[in-house]
């Protein structure tokens, strides 16, 4: 058996330095990273990277920063398995491997000029933040912007300071709800679907961008359709198990699509007829 060195293998990782780490909630940590050999990751909102720790493995992680922020990118990682636990042990100054960015991100050029309704459930805020920040940084290019956020409890709210700053903006219409309140909570209590009927929108010119846990999609999409938003104007980002990121390993298959290459962002009309999509 002969072993050859490959210079163009898709499995080669780019080296990135950890420049900031923050514990966000009990299970989620925030990381700010900079590539060593490239000025920028050059991604689209909604894309993801494979984060690689030599000796442990790789995991697909959503990029949560907007490409308008140059020179660095940000990730939020929930500790669930071997690789994400290893990522949680990273400290400032450590090196980590990055492959990507992968996949089809949010269709920002199609969204331009339209009204936007963001619907984020729990950890779904992480990939959605890359688009929310992009829109805020290019606010003039978009119509009305509504943000609906749903969390399990007030202490699970990610990016709390930023979320509060969105709520204060005059060019963003923001609402938040929690499944379970704590004594200090003054906001809405209930499922995120309860916020949708009250949103004042023009369905013909509104794109809804929905990201959340799998169970959330079916119920939220039903409400959005009730509002009269056309199927092709409902945009979702789907989470799947992934091993390669390059459309080969088969783990992320959704019907005719490979989530890692054809997604993770889909319009509802693209995936509604695919088995096991939602």
């Amino acid at each position: 058996m002969k072993r050859l060195q490959l210079v163009d293998s898709p499995y080669l990782v780019k080296e990135a330095k950890v420049c900031e780490v923050r514990q966000m909630t009990e299970h989620e940590k925030y990381f700010k990273l900079m590539l060593r050999d490239e000025p920028d990751l050059d991604h689209e909102p909604g894309q993801f990277v494979m984060v690689s720790i030599f000796g442990v493995g790789e995991a697909p992680i959503s990029i949560c920063s907007s490409p308008t922020k140059k020179g660095y990118f940000e990730l939020v990682v929930r500790k669930v398995g071997k690789v994400t636990s290893a990522i949680h042990r990273l400290e400032v100054g450590d090196t980590v491997g990055i492959r990507g960015p992968f996949g089809r991100g949010f269709p920002v050029r199609i969204l331009e000029g339209n009204d936007l309704l963001f619907v984020a459930g729990g950890l779904g805020l992480v990939p959605l933040r890359s688009l929310v920040d992009f829109v805020i940084d290019n606010r003039r290019d978009f119509g009305r912007v509504h943000i609906l956020l749903g969390c399990r409890s007030p202490k699970d709210i990610l990016f709390k300071d930023e979320v509060e700053s969105w709520a204060r903006r005059i060019d963003v219409d923001f609402s938040c709800t929690v499944d379970r309140a704590d004594p200090d909570w003054k906001g809405n209590v209930g499922l995120i679907t309860s916020l949708i009927p009250g949103v004042d929108l023009d369905p013909t010119r509104t794109f809804a961008v929905v990201v959340g846990p799998p169970i959330m999609y079916r119920f939220v999409i039903k409400e959005l359709l009730k509002k009269g938003i056309p199927e092709k104007q409902i945009i979702v980002s789907l989470e799947r198990h992934m091993k390669c990121g390059i459309g080969k390993c088969g783990h992320c298959q959704i019907g005719n699509y490979y989530c890692c290459q054809d997604g993770p962002v889909f319009s509802y009309d693209e995936i509604k007829d695919n088995l096991e999509a939602l």
Binding site: L12, V13, V56, H251, L275, E276
Partner: protein
């Protein structure tokens, strides 16, 4: 102009002998009553008799896409990496048309962008010598239904047994070079080609598909079978062992795993065959599994052969080799599944 040669059966031994002295040769070798494997041979005597040989337990995909393959070497402390691929120059002798079709499917998958460099380099190091069947190998074969019982390229040389001699089709310059360097062949005549056509005519009637469906009908059957009761029934029997996907010539799903050496600094990242029949194959970080039930996983396997690849590659990914049926411990047989789907649709 197609190039054909004759090889008298008395010269076969000399041909294989010369081949093994020039190349590493793998060929079907008998290992049990009905068990054959592609294995390294050093003499013509080791090759399974063509009359006896049914599809090997594992298809020749193992040479194209090894069960375990190192993709990266690293030093975790120094953060150094080296992407690698491994290959061997091998002649695969005696590949049936079903398996040629399987290799063609894998070629499409791995050359689709982003390309799989490891696979693409390796495939060009392999020489393929095909071999024609004149009858079904056993009751599980459905190559005629899948239209893979006749050769459609994908080989360097192709042998058709015409009685007391083999007629050899040369498909590539590499094949021609083998013929030229091993001087036991004679040029074929028009008579030989006529004889081949006669054999092929007889073959068309011998390979009765047993299932009366055209390809558009087969496509249609699987395009509209999501809610069929058949899947529930298969789910109740399936043991989730993954035999069917391991032996399938067009199953290529894999896992990527890191292994660190005892020095706790150097190690390898490798990919290893995985199976959509495993329970956690489609499980995400939040714990949700998109194919939690065995019925859903069986349905997924079938749709990956008869529905999804048609949209992407315009062909079925079932070659008709019948391996999944032979390997299934729960007697889930592909022909029975298709018949059950037909019956269910007809309301029987």
């Amino acid at each position: 102009m197609d190039q054909y040669y004759r090889l008298n059966k008395t010269e076969c031994r000399e041909f294989v002998g010369a081949l093994t002295s020039r190349y590493q040769v793998v060929a079907p070798v008998k290992r049990g009553e009905k068990s054959f494997v592609f294995a390294r041979i050093s003499s013509p005597d080791e090759i399974a008799s063509p009359e006896e040989y049914i599809p090997t337990i594992i298809p020749p995909k193992k040479y194209f896409f090894p069960q375990r393959e190192t993709i990266l070497e690293y030093d975790a402390v120094a953060q150094r990496q080296k992407a690698v691929m491994e290959y061997e120059k091998v002649v695969i002798f005696g590949v049936r048309t079903c398996d040629l079709a399987g290799i063609q499917c894998l070629n499409m998958v791995f050359s689709e962008r982003p390309r799989d460099v490891n696979y693409l380099i390796r495939k060009n190091k392999l020489i393929i010598i095909g071999m024609e069947c004149w009858d079904y190998c056993d009751e599980h074969a459905l190559c005629a239904l899948m239209d893979n019982h006749l050769p459609k390229g994908g080989y360097d040389l192709f042998f058709s047994d015409l009685g007391d001699y083999h007629l050899i089709h040369v498909n590539t310059e590499v094949g021609e070079e083998i013929v030229r360097s091993i001087g036991v062949f004679t040029e074929a005549t028009g008579e030989d080609l006529k004889r081949l056509q006669e054999f092929r005519e007889k073959k068309r009637s011998a390979f009765d598909t047993g299932i009366d469906l055209s390809h558009p009908e087969l496509m249609d059957l699987f395009a509209n079978c999501e809610d069929a009761r058949v899947w529930e029934e298969l789910g109740e029997r399936c043991l989730s062992c993954g035999n069917c996907t391991t032996v399938c010539p067009t199953c290529y799903c894999f896992d990527v795993i890191d292994e660190i050496n005892l020095d706790l600094r150097t190690g390898e990242r490798f990919r290893i065959w995985d199976s959509c029949q495993n329970e956690d194959f489609a499980k995400v970080a939040g714990g949700e599994s998109f194919r939690e039930e065995r019925s859903g996983r069986q349905r997924h396997r079938y749709l990956r052969k008869f529905k999804y690849p048609l949209a992407k590659y315009s062909r079925f990914f079932c070659t008709g080799c019948g391996r999944c049926s032979r390997a299934c411990m729960a007697q889930i047989h592909i022909k029975e599944t298709i018949k059950a789907l037909i019956a269910e649709r007809a309301g029987v």
